[in-house]
């Protein structure tokens, strides 16, 4: 909306992936092969002339690099790192933050844990992954210690007792500081996941992103409600 929107920071994810992929294909030579005598050098084709393009040059359209991705169809293409056990705990927490109600489904029902996995697993996102994993492990241990069961198997009242302790960093006890930071992170990411879905848009009453012939501004009733008429 501004002339120039604010930048957000990040990483060259595909660069990192390329390095990982290259490392993965370095062949491991078995001992015996390494010890075998080197074969005689084979005759080679001459090198191609460097001034000529080696394959047809594509001058149009996206090149699929990090700074020129294909925008029309795009998905996260990095490996997901959270285990099924972790995702189970995470789902329970997402639904404590955004449960189903009369107006919309719960966060897990629209795939919030999958998005948080994508976010925490992103190349360069090591600090996020540590926070999410550490927090999930803490959550299960805390539940075990207090109620003798893992977080997702605890009753709603029991889960609420834990969440109440960690839901607001300024009021969290000293021993809950990390857990409160973790909760804050998961709440932000759950909201991002949920409110960017069609169900989340509907819940908030976002009705844009549709072509309309004329832009008319707010109705008389709304103008009256905000006090400008």
């Amino acid at each position: 909306m501004s002339d120039e929107t604010k930048p957000t920071s990040g990483i060259a994810r595909r660069d990192a992936l390329k390095v990982m992929a290259a490392a993965a294909v370095v062949p491991m030579l078995p001992e015996s092969a390494a010890a075998a005598p080197a074969p005689a050098p084979a005759s080679r084709e001459p090198l191609p002339l460097l001034d000529e393009p080696q394959r047809p040059v594509r001058r149009k359209g996206p090149r699929g690099t990090p700074s020129d991705p294909v925008l029309q169809v795009a998905k996260a293409d990095w490996p997901m790192k959270l285990s099924l056990r972790e995702l189970t705990t995470l789902s329970a927490l997402c639904d404590m933050i955004i449960p189903a109600d009369a107006k919309s489904p719960s966060a897990s029902a629209v795939g919030a844990p999958g998005y948080i996995n994508e976010w925490a697993s992103r190349p360069g996102g090591d600090a996020s992954l540590v926070r999410v994993r550490g927090g999930l492990a803490w959550l299960d241990r805390e539940s075990q210690a207090r109620f003798g069961t893992r977080f997702h198997l605890a009753t709603n009242a029991q889960r609420t007792a834990i969440c109440d302790d960690i839901c607001y960093l300024p009021k969290a006890k000293p021993e809950h500081q990390f857990a409160a930071q973790f909760f804050d992170t998961i709440r932000d990411q759950t909201a991002t996941a949920f409110y960017t879905t069609p169900q989340g848009w509907k819940d908030l009453g976002y009705i844009g992103n549709v072509a309309i012939p004329k832009f008319e501004g707010p109705s008389a009733a709304v103008r009256k409600q905000i006090g400008v008429e």
């Binding site: 700074s67 925008l71 293409d77 976010w119 832009f215 501004g217």
Partner: protein, 596 residues
């Protein structure tokens, strides 16, 4: 649009370097007047009609479309191979200087993603030194430029109002398109500004709110030129009016907003007079023994082969600093300090826009019923500078003005939505969180000041003595310093925003800075960098005459933001376009007279 490589170098009339606002306008104006143009673009070919992600939602993108170092303004931003860094093409900053340089490497350059805010410079803006003794005057007046502003607005399509305020001139009747209706938060802001005696009026943006009159405009803009009329009519017929959805920063596949690739290059190519070469990184302007520009060297980025092409005239529009870089790297026995740089002014007087912002939460916007507030995906209203009288009377501690852009409301929920909501709700979660989200959604706003920076001796670019980019071309090193005028102006912005927010009954988010150095954005970060090859009336103090023609090399022209003498608070693109048009009219005339 075709892109070809030249096997044999044909004789061109003009080589245009760069295809953004200045280069796109040059390619269009020169080709419709019958000149053979070679258009060189350092980035890849790009087609907004097929490539723009219209209607795609955050959910369709990795990480919900949030930005990263490769796509700083978000996954869907139109910018290709650019942003705050360009792969393989670094720049440096001198010790103690902070400067950011946004570039794009694509056909159409930065016009594909810009904010489309199109404000005219006013009468004061062309003669700043005459008014307050600071900076330098332009070699022409507003009255000279007004017809070119009219024509440019008609060509590209600009919406706006009929207000005629001090140094905020109105366009001639019938030039502008109708402005879109104000949104809720814009109405509330205007109400507050009315109380504070701050004008809040329809913004001017290069977006069509109705289709262009293709039967009438081509003849009006190009009288007596059937070729120009034909290609422009065809181009205007392909442009739709805005349908009030999807962010302009992604580009526009229905050609409702202005970008060089939808408005200038299609008619230019349709003349048959333009040869376009993309991935062509120009590094040097060559000169003949008489000191005239003979052509340019460019590197084909896909083959890494260096080419030399020739023409009668060279037009540089590579973006302000890139144009300086090419000129400074064009050293020869005749021009040891860079082509046309006997004055030593090339690279000097680099300017950006002064920026400072403040966010707010507005209770009166809470809990509204569903309203579609996408609009033109940019500002519908803004506040032009209003304290000229106070400054003239010596009652302000900074010399130049700023305007205010603001936004908010019920926009498309994206990544980061409700981050920080816990400070309003005491850490709500569960059903309470959903209720609070419904209540607060749409109640947040931001205010951004965009102010004039006065050119100074300490803000400039030069060739780094050591560093080169991956093409072996020496890179730029930036020097940057704000003066007290800009610092004090930034503090005044914060004070004003706080007054407006308070009047609206809102709550400021963050800190209202009384020390402007804590409010002001980093130099270059507003992406309005201009100057460095300024025009003027004195060849000892400027590089170009009022037509963008180099004093020392009469067949070398500059048509991008590098020509700017000052940087009024008015966003530069509209002025770049109008100045480029005027330069091209002069160029064609001189070429016809045999003077080039």
């Amino acid at each position: 649009m075709t892109s070809r490589r030249s096997k044999v170098a044909p004789q061109y009339d003009v080589i245009v370097v760069g295809s953004g606002a200045g280069g796109g306008m040059a390619a269009y104006q020169l080709s419709v007047q019958g000149l053979k143009v070679l258009l060189l673009e350092a980035g890849r070919d790009y087609d907004p009609v097929t490539e723009t992600p219209m209607f795609q939602t955050p959910k369709d993108a990795p990480l919900r479309g949030s930005g990263n170092a490769d796509k700083p303004f978000g996954f869907y931003d139109a910018t290709v191979d650019g942003g705050w860094r360009v792969p393989g093409e670094p720049f440096t900053t001198a010790p103690g200087s902070q400067f950011q340089w946004w570039r794009a490497r694509m056909l159409g350059g930065r016009t594909n993603h810009w904010g489309r805010i199109s404000l005219r410079m006013g009468p004061y803006d062309f003669k700043p030194k005459s008014r307050d003794g600071l900076g330098e005057d332009w070699p022409m007046t507003y009255e000279t430029m007004a017809p070119y502003y009219d024509k440019t607005e008609l060509l590209i399509g600009v919406y706006g109002g009929e207000e005629d305020l001090e140094n905020t001139p109105r366009s001639s009747p019938g030039v502008l398109q109708p402005p879109p209706a104000a949104r809720t938060y814009e109405l509330l802001t205007k109400q507050a500004c009315d109380h504070l005696k701050i004008p809040c009026i329809p913004a001017h943006r290069a977006v069509l709110t109705q289709r262009q009159d293709s039967a009438r405009l081509p003849q009006k803009l190009h009288p007596g030129n059937p070729l120009a009329q034909r290609v422009l009519r065809q181009s205007m017929n392909q442009r739709m009016a805005c349908f009030y959805a999807t962010d302009c920063g992604r580009g526009c596949s229905i050609k409702a907003n202005f970008q060089s690739t939808t408005v200038l290059l299609p008619p230019a190519m349709a003349t048959g007079n333009v040869t376009l070469i993309t991935d062509a990184m120009v590094r040097e302007v060559t000169v003949d023994k008489d000191g005239r520009a003979s052509g340019v060297h460019y590197i084909d980025k896909l083959t890494r082969v260096d080419h030399h092409v020739t023409a009668k005239v060279v037009v540089l529009a590579a973006s302000a600093c890139e144009t300086s870089r090419i000129m400074l790297n064009s050293r020869s026995a005749l021009f040891p300090n860079g082509i046309a740089n006997g004055s030593g002014v090339v690279g000097k007087y680099l300017m950006d826009t002064v920026g400072a912002g403040l966010s707010a939460q507005i209770p009166r916007l809470e809990g509204l019923p569903p309203i579609n507030e996408d609009g033109t995906a940019g500002i519908h209203m803004y506040m032009p500078w209003w304290l000229y009288g106070e400054q003239a009377a010596g009652r302000m501690n900074f010399a130049r003005g700023y305007h205010i852009e603001f936004g908010g409301g019920r926009g498309m929920p994206g990544p980061g939505i409700f981050g920080g909501l816990e400070s309003f709700t005491g850490g709500a979660y569960g059903r309470k969180f959903k209720e609070e989200a419904r209540r607060y959604y749409g109640s947040f706003m931001y205010f951004d000041g965009r102010g004039e920076m006065i050119p100074n001796e300490d803000s400039y670019c030069e060739i780094d003595p050591v560093a080169v980019d991956q093409w072996g071309i020496p890179v730029l090193r930036f020097h940057w310093k704000w003066s007290e005028h800009e610092i004090n102006q930034a503090a005044h912005m914060h004070k004003t925003f706080a007054e407006i927010i308070d009047r609206m009954g809102g709550k400021v988010q963050g800190t209202v800075q009384t020390d402007g150095s804590k409010a002001i954005a980093t130099g270059g970060s507003i992406i309005h960098e201009v100057g460095t090859v300024r025009m003027g009336s004195d060849p000892k103090k400027s590089v170009l005459n009022e037509f963008g023609q180099a004093w020392e090399v009469k067949n070398l022209f500059v048509t991008d933001g590098a020509t700017f003498v000052s940087n009024a608070d008015k966003n530069p693109t509209l002025s770049i376009l109008a100045l480029a048009w005027r330069s091209c009219d002069y160029l064609v005339d001189e070429l016809k007279k045999g003077n080039l």
